[in-house]
């Protein structure tokens, strides 16, 4: 291994957990659709960090492959999600999720 004193895996996990918690908090509290969307991206990337950490620890490539998948999915999701929000915005002039309650009761 080229790094003599590697960063311990626990650091990765803590970072990942922190990022995930921030993402959850954001997704649950934000009202703006795009804010929620960003928070979800954050949660996805938290998972990516954890995956990379383990991949390094275990010397297993599949973790990194998973990360690439997640990034691809996230990109696709961003495209669809933002598209939806634009469409919603055009209809309703807002993307406040609390006001998008057409299906409520």
């Amino acid at each position: 291994m080229s790094f003599a004193n590697p960063v311990p895996v626990s650091w990765f996990l803590v970072l990942s957990a922190l990022l995930f918690a921030i993402g959850v908090a954001g997704a649950l509290t934000r009202r703006n659709g795009i804010g929620i969307f960003l928070s979800i991206e954050l949660m996805l990337n938290a998972v990516n960090v954890a995956l990379i950490g383990y991949s390094r620890l275990l010397g297993e490539r599949s973790g990194q492959i998973m990360v690439l998948f997640v990034m691809a999915v996230a990109a696709a999701e961003a495209a669809v999600g933002l598209g939806l929000f634009i469409a919603v915005y055009r209809q309703r002039r807002t993307i406040d999720v609390n006001r998008l309650n057409l299906m409520r009761w």
């Binding site: 649950l28 929620i36 999720v97 299906m103």
Partner: protein, 640 residues
Amino acid sequence: MRPLDLLWLVPALPIAGAALNGLICLFWPKAPKATATWIGVGFPGASMLVALAAIWEYLHGVNPDPFERTFWSWTAGELSIPVAFLLDPLSVVMLFIVTFVGFWIHVYSAGYMSHDPGYRRYFAYLNLFMGAMLLLILGNNFLVMFVGWEGVGLCSYLLIGFYYDKKFAADAGKKAFIVNRIGDFGFLIGMFLIFTTFGSLNFITVFAQASTLSAGTPVIMWMTLALFLGATGKSAQIPLFVWLPDAMAGPTPVSALIHAATMVTGGVYMIARCSILFALAPVTMEVVAVIGACTALFAASIGLVQNDIKKVLAYSTVSQLGYMFLALGVGAFAAGIFHVLTHAFFKALLFLGSGAVIHAMHEEQDIRKMGGLKKYLPTTYKTFLVGTIAIAGIPPLAGFFSKDEILWKAFANGDYVLWSMGIVGAGLTAFYMFRLLSLTFEGEKRWDAGKHPHEAPSTMTIPLIVLAGLSIVGGFVGIPASLGGGNAIEHWLEPVFEKANDKMSLKLHGIETIEYVLMGLSVAVALAGIYLARLWYLKKNDGPNRVSSRFAGMYKLLLNKYYVDEAYDAAIVTPIVKGSDKLLWRVVDVGIIDWCVNALASIFGFASKGARRVQTGVAQSYAIVFLAGVIAIIGWMLVK
């Protein structure tokens, strides 16, 4: 081709005429009126010719056996019903009455209805009636008979309600149909019992099996009682007679054809046809005789005070039908059919005569507003007089022989009470008929000067003359042996009633003296009735007023027909209608059953209303729940 092979044409021709006229009526309203007459009178006329030819051939047949012909059948399970015709002595008599009298009434109608806007429709209905009536009498099994039976009921409904824009006419038609349906219910049940007992509905098969049974079997009793219920409906006997007087709302020739000469005798024909079954049920026979005698007397008593010329004749018809049932009930089947024959002649004559009068008086039917018409309607008067004498039972006109035969058989059978009811009824008949005659044709004019009564056209008078002739000579086919006659009709019908007569074993021979005495008595009673009527209504006597004020209660009762209609309304019709509306529909159906269904739905509705509070529609609150769930699961895994 023999005429008997063409028997199917007899009912088919009038039905074809009805269909043709009906279609023209609907789809070619501008068709020339003459076509309606040619079709409407021509088809029944052709049917009559075929029928007469068939009868002639049958009479001269080497083989007197019943003639049967099957056309097609219905089958289901054990049931197999041929659509088949039977010609035997009984149906020959009926065939003659229906086609012959029917034809002349058609001819008469062409004159009587000529100014009616519904002329073509009228003939379509009338022809249809002929077809159905012929099916009734020609069918060789109960089902074909029933088809005709209900068919005539339908035509009766249509013709009574012919002037449908008048409410009472439409009501009367409906009443006739429904009351007949009650009778038909009995007929149906009777048929079911016959089928379950004998496994067939064919007359010959059933009667052959029945004659092997012993009298008094309960199933035969129920069977015959059910059939008799059917007969009371069609032939207007107590308790189902109520429709016939109202049926006079129809055009007068209809009253003559359907409600006097042919359809109403269907019940008599049916019982005569089933004579062997009835002969095996002494209880039923008793019931038939008693109902017949009661109806005869009851209807005659109502007839005494009616002022509508057609109502008098209607009650008279009910009464005469009562005599026929009396005859059947005492086992004198041939006498019953004989009376059907003579009654068809004179009652059709009387109705047609009354039609001529009504025509002349511009649709006036109240005899209090007539009088003195003798001068203006000589032919009608003469023929009406013949009919009146015939119905009153004065020899040697037709009514005498048949009525006397019935009374004599009732007496000979030992039913003295029924006989005396009959003889009183005969006196009443003579009275009310001569009252009618006197008030209508004799005495002084009681009508407005504006009316100019004139004799009817020849299309109307010729049928009157033909029927008057038959009313005079029609009785001669049944001159009893005691008067030196051969009683041809009884002999003619003997093959049909042979088995029934064996079971009944009427003792009739060797007491000719009594027969003469009774004959004299009934003629005397009739003459007394006539005398009283002439005295009261011709000589400006105040007898009627005295009697009616003396017995005011009775008079009112009779005038209101014993309040039978009102009683039926109050006891049956109103409770059913009100009960169905107020109780069954509004309470049971809407209030209970549908309420339960909707309540069940509401329970689910309420439950889900509570449950859906959880669904706030805010995605984030769902996510919180989701997160809580995830944490709970992870926590549970850690603790475990």
